[in-house]
Assembly symmetry: C2
């Protein structure tokens, strides 16, 4: 009985080195850890599937990092500090050892970057495509989590970084648009969770979330949660030089995979917001505002005329 | 923008009613909850895939309940009290609404039975089979978790309930063996996590785990974790009347899906163990013991002769 079957050997080789304090070396039925005293826990889970959320040929290290980072972005959106994660990995039989090695190497790099550890999980086979699920655990001071509800008429609508690179990056990764220096594909494959910024603005913004399903659709979520309307001034939406060159404004406004923060901020807090952004080194741009009225988003051009979009955003369930 | 796309509508209809305190009605980027003061957290994650861990035609309510219960069994194995769970659901496009309704109804039934709530998750499409992942969160008193390591030579090897019904139940569910009253298939489809028993024995047993991958293989895990050997007396292994009638001892000893507790208990604690078992109303049977020597399991018949098994257990990654 001393021969470990393949599953256990695989876990020992590739995942045990990722295990942190409390994970019990992945050798027990569960991980045990003491939550930070006096803090609230923040937890989220996301699944990604080959052919739906990433390209089957994507480098496995980047798949691992994207899986982790999209979850870290959810913590950023709550103003939380990450602690660790659990992960389940379902792969076709015969997946080469090198795939696991690359996947784990990507996770290890991001664990070091974000100061987190693997707490547990499961590895199974599947007759279908690679399916990955990750649960992230973080913490905030009691009552300090940044929430989606809370936007008020008169608040400014602010967004971090630049919008549209992720959606354009998917096209670039597929070879459908030019991307001479790889900037766009890089943003699609390796999101930058805005953790420090989320923590810095949690006490300033009335409401916030991360932009993962498209700017317009996600603004709609803030509207519904706050029972307010919103206006987006399309000309104010920050675009990277690469996105400007691509000249696909509608896609930028509705594409997914931005992983920027979207915030409702009262005008009186604009200076505090700017100071927080400066401290974090991440630009924040006012792209519109919230208005009284039924929940809904209108997008206007530089002349104040409405821009009609055929699709508000991206649903991983409805559309590819 | 007020039309919710299908993913959000689906979540609102079927999963929001399952959300508990802290889940923020599944409307935020993450759940926020205060961990029970002074307790350690216990977390585990498992994935199940149609065609690997359950049959594609299984009733969706039982799939949901099995997913939850296999994770609850991991908490039982640690002596933990469950708190809540996160879940990701990847299903083929066109999965009927009735499937989701049944799946959620099963979860709702078990939430009521075990006093837990949904904290968050994700729903996506997949071009492959239904793939489900669940992260369970529970808690224990500091230092009180039951661990796999700790078995000592001289400890008795004890198991709860009966062994083999799950593995036989898979054959019964496939119509490969008789199961006149459905007992066996029922145990395959609806495991009984031994939560109360796990909590009751955590301070008594030297080591413990749940039997999910086969009695012999899982005993091997206790051996490796404790650096001891073990002897299983096959004639002592508790079999249900249905399993006795099936007369498939080797399968019972190596099949998976038992979700019983496997414990290393010093002889001096046998009375305390019996009292705990009686309080919980779950039988515990001594099926052998731990011995000095290299980690390994030998299985003996009633005459003390070794029984050679072609396969120690079940690995979800290696074999179906």
């Amino acid at each position: 009985m001393s021969d470990l079957p393949g599953e256990f050997s695989l876990i020992a080789r590739h995942f045990r080195p990722l295990a942190g304090p409390g994970a019990l070396a992945l050798g027990d039925d569960a991980a045990v850890f003491a939550p930070p005293p006096g803090r609230e826990l923040v937890v989220a889970a996301d699944a990604i599937v080959a052919g739906v959320h990433f390209l089957p040929g994507d480098p496995p290290d980047l798949i691992g990092r994207k899986l982790l980072r999209t979850n870290l972005s959810d913590l950023a959106a709550m103003g939380a500090t990450p602690l660790g994660y659990l992960m389940t990995v379902s792969v076709p039989r015969g997946t080469p050892d090198a795939w696991f090695a690359g996947f784990a190497a990507g996770l290890a790099a991001d664990q070091a970057e974000f100061g987190i550890f693997l707490l547990g999980g499961d590895t199974t086979s599947t007759p279908g495509p690679v399916s990955l699920s990750l649960t992230i655990i973080g913490h905030v001071a009691p009552g300090a989590a940044l929430r989606r509800g809370g936007a008020r008429a008169g608040d400014g609508l602010w967004v971090s970084g630049s919008i549209g690179d992720g959606a354009l990056g998917l096209l670039a990764a597929r070879g459908e648009i030019a991307d001479p220096d790889g900037t766009l594909a890089g943003r699609y494959r390796l999101p930058q969770p805005r953790l420090a910024l989320g923590q810095a603005v949690a006490g300033i913004a009335h409401a916030g979330m991360d932009v993962s399903d498209g700017l317009v659709q996600d603004t709609g979520h803030l509207c519904r949660a706050g029972a307010v309307g919103a206006v987006i001034e399309a000309a104010s939406v920050p675009l990277s030089p690469a996105a400007r060159a691509a000249d696909r404004l509608a896609l930028c406004l509705t594409g997914g995979d931005d992983y920027e923060l979207l915030l409702a901020v009262p005008p009186a807090s604009a200076a505090a917001l700017a100071a927080a952004a400066a401290r974090c080194g991440i630009p924040l741009t006012r792209i519109g505002g919230f208005v009284a009225g039924p929940p809904g988003v209108s997008v206007r051009n530089a002349d104040g005329q409405p821009i009609v979009l055929s699709k508000a955003g991206w649903s991983h369930f409805e559309a590819q």
